[in-house]
């Protein structure tokens, strides 16, 4: 019987074969547990920096810095992953990151609006911008790359023109600031005290929200339809998935997450800088998403991977400086890591489909 002939109806007769070689087993592991492979990279990196810095890397003070960066970046990266799964991308997130806390601080200093209320308004603005990005992309069929570059400049222009690019000093309102990012941690505090916890609040928020997003992506109809939209948009539409809405909703999630990340950033520094989020921040978030195992092709991705990817990026940014390298050197590593991650991701996919493992 030629190999293409239909086999008799018995299980495992057609299509998928049991993997035999080590390469195949490795490929299965890589394709099934992308988070695991990037976690290994993260652990290796931690060991490298820990040794290189004579034990300084894993100190609470330094981890606080790294994990704060991880949290900020991870929130944006995870939201970007959801969009990348639908086959879209949002480059305007850095502008939302700037404008949401700026509005919060502005409302507070001008009319005495409580920061908590201002933060809600800021997040709503982020969601609104996301909706606008989504509607322009879906209804007017503008590629999201272009739509969001447009809104990026537009929003950035607005936020710097309000006060001539001047940062606003945001008032401190406890417990708002401590809950949403300000560190009260002193070297004399115990790590497991309230002050100790505040050293890591941005990271804890990111972990919480990324876990929520992971449940949404993997365990809800919303997540299933998000994947369907990016994997086969025409087929998804034919079967009744509202692909346009799925895209718009994910743009809104991304906007809300970026706004929240911006507010955390402002609560930490008690200052709303109209240029807090440079477009470079969005690019780093996309880098974190890609390193974490999400491809730009749509249809698959992992938000947990994005958070670990954000940790890798934050470790590179801070760790290299700590072990005495020039600050700029980290970009070289980051660039190489993005390309390597992308090549690996695409090759694993290709081999997986070809060998049917």
């Amino acid at each position: 019987m030629p190999p293409t002939a239909i086999q008799p109806a018995k299980k495992s007769a057609v299509g998928v074969k049991v993997p035999h070689t080590t390469t195949e087993r490795l490929l299965i592991l890589l394709s099934r547990y992308r988070e695991a492979s990037i976690a290994v990279v993260a652990i290796v990196l931690v060991i490298y920096f820990q040794v290189g810095s004579d034990g300084g890397f894993l100190s609470p003070q330094f981890m606080s810095v790294v994990l704060r960066d991880t949290g900020r970046l991870g929130l944006i990266a995870a939201a970007e992953v959801m969009l990348m799964i639908t086959g879209e991308i949002d480059l305007s997130l850095s502008a939302i990151f700037s404008i949401a806390p700026y509005v919060m601080a502005l409302l507070s200093v001008t009319w005495g609006v409580p920061l908590a209320l201002g933060a809600v308004i800021g997040v709503l603005i982020g969601i609104l911008v996301g909706a606008i990005n989504g509607i322009i992309t879906v209804r007017f069929r503008v590629p999201s790359l272009i739509t969001t570059v447009g809104t990026l400049f537009f929003l950035q222009g607005i936020v710097v023109s309000i006060y001539n690019s001047q940062p606003i000093v945001a008032p401190v309102e406890q417990p708002f600031n401590a809950i949403f990012g300000q560190s009260l941690y002193q070297p004399t505090d115990a790590l497991l005290s309230w002050h100790g916890v505040t050293a890591f609040t941005p990271f804890l928020w990111a972990v919480l929200l990324v876990l929520v997003l992971a449940v949404v992506l993997n365990r809800t109809t919303f997540g299933l339809h998000t994947i369907a939209t990016g994997s086969n948009i025409i087929g998804a539409r034919e079967i009744g998935v509202r692909t346009d809405r799925m895209k718009i909703y994910n743009f809104m999630i991304a906007g809300g997450f970026a706004a929240f990340a911006g507010i955390i950033n402002t609560a930490q520094f008690t200052s709303a800088d109209p240029q807090a989020g440079s477009p470079f921040l969005t690019l780093q978030a996309i880098a974190a998403a890609v390193i974490g195992g999400t491809s730009l092709l749509g249809g698959s991705g992992t938000v947990i991977g994005a958070l670990i990817g954000a940790f890798v990026v934050a470790s590179l940014n801070n760790g290299l400086v700590m072990i005495g390298a020039q600050a700029t050197v980290s970009d070289i590593y980051l660039g190489a890591a993005i390309i390597a991650a992308m090549i690996l991701s695409i090759q694993v996919d290709r081999l997986r489909t070809r060998r049917r493992v």
Partner: protein, 275 residues
């Protein structure tokens, strides 16, 4: 001159679907002109025609994917308007598209239940009941005699024939009243084709499902279909029952490439009562 005896349709079988005077254009391209089709309960209707004749457009209107420019659709005795595929599905019209509409990155069981997922409440949240969907999909595929390695494997790892079987299985899972199949046998081997044709026969006889079938293999038409509609340049050029038509005749008409008027005239001359 059918090769196999098809049990004749009950004379009083009610009309379940009537599409009347459907026209549709895409910009300057006219896809359908004043097309009317009628489908009775338990009837298997073959839709034939060359590429670009408008077959796919017609069924995409029926499935709610396209909206007609003019014309009406009457389903189960009342006029309906389908704004989306969801509306058509709610009316018991299931469609298997030529592209199968399967999601390559999702597992077989997720594909089976896409758009009608089972849920369970966990801590007040409405989460997917993956276990139930997995079990149901397995049981269902087993009943239909469709063999795949695992309902957990993602669809992009399956062969063309397996995918086609999954798509057909998905469409009949919800016990539709009308089943529309756009070239369901295109990627199937001989054995798998026979299997799908058998499924169609069963649906028709046991559950009184009405089926619209787009096929290119005229042999298969005479195996399962009651009636043939030949679409030519966006018009119905021939509406004949398989009992009154032979395969040779059908092939001759299709090959002639003639429009409706020419066929009407020729048919009236040669065999009064054919049209």
């Amino acid at each position: 001159m059918s090769t196999q005896a098809i049990p004749p349709l009950a004379a009083d079988a009610p009309v379940v679907l009537e599409m009347s005077n459907i026209s549709k254009s895409f910009g300057a391209v006219t896809a359908l002109v004043d097309v009317s089709i009628k489908l009775r309960q338990g009837e298997v209707l073959a839709l034939v025609g060359d590429n670009g004749a408008g077959k796919s457009t017609l069924i995409k209107i029926l499935s709610g994917f396209h909206q007609p420019d003019t014309g009406t659709i009457v389903s189960q005795g009342k006029e309906v308007r389908f704004a989306s595929p969801r509306d058509a599905r709610a009316q018991g019209i299931e469609t298997v598209y030529q592209d199968l509409a399967l999601i390559g990155d999702l597992s077989v069981f997720h594909n089976m239940f896409l758009g009608r997922e089972y849920h369970k409440r966990v801590l007040g949240l409405n989460l997917l009941d993956n276990r139930k969907m997995r079990e149901q999909a397995q049981v269902y595929l087993d009943t239909l005699g469709i063999s795949i390695p695992s309902v957990n494997s993602t669809v992009d790892l399956l062969s063309g024939g397996q995918r086609q079987c999954i798509a057909v299985a998905r469409s009949i899972y919800s016990s539709p009243k009308i089943l529309v199949l756009d070239e369901p046998l295109a990627a199937l081997g001989v054995r798998e084709s026979a299997h799908v044709l058998g499924l169609i026969q069963n649906l028709r006889q046991q559950r009184q499902v009405s089926v619209i079938l787009i096929v290119h293999n005229y042999n298969q038409i005479f195996e399962v279909c009651d009636r043939i509609n030949f679409l030519h340049s966006g018009e119905i050029a021939l509406d004949a029952s398989t009992a009154d038509t032979s395969e040779e005749e059908l092939i001759r008409i299709v090959k002639s490439g003639l429009g409706r008027k020419a066929i009407d005239a020729a048919a009236a001359e040669v065999r009064p009562g054919l049209v």
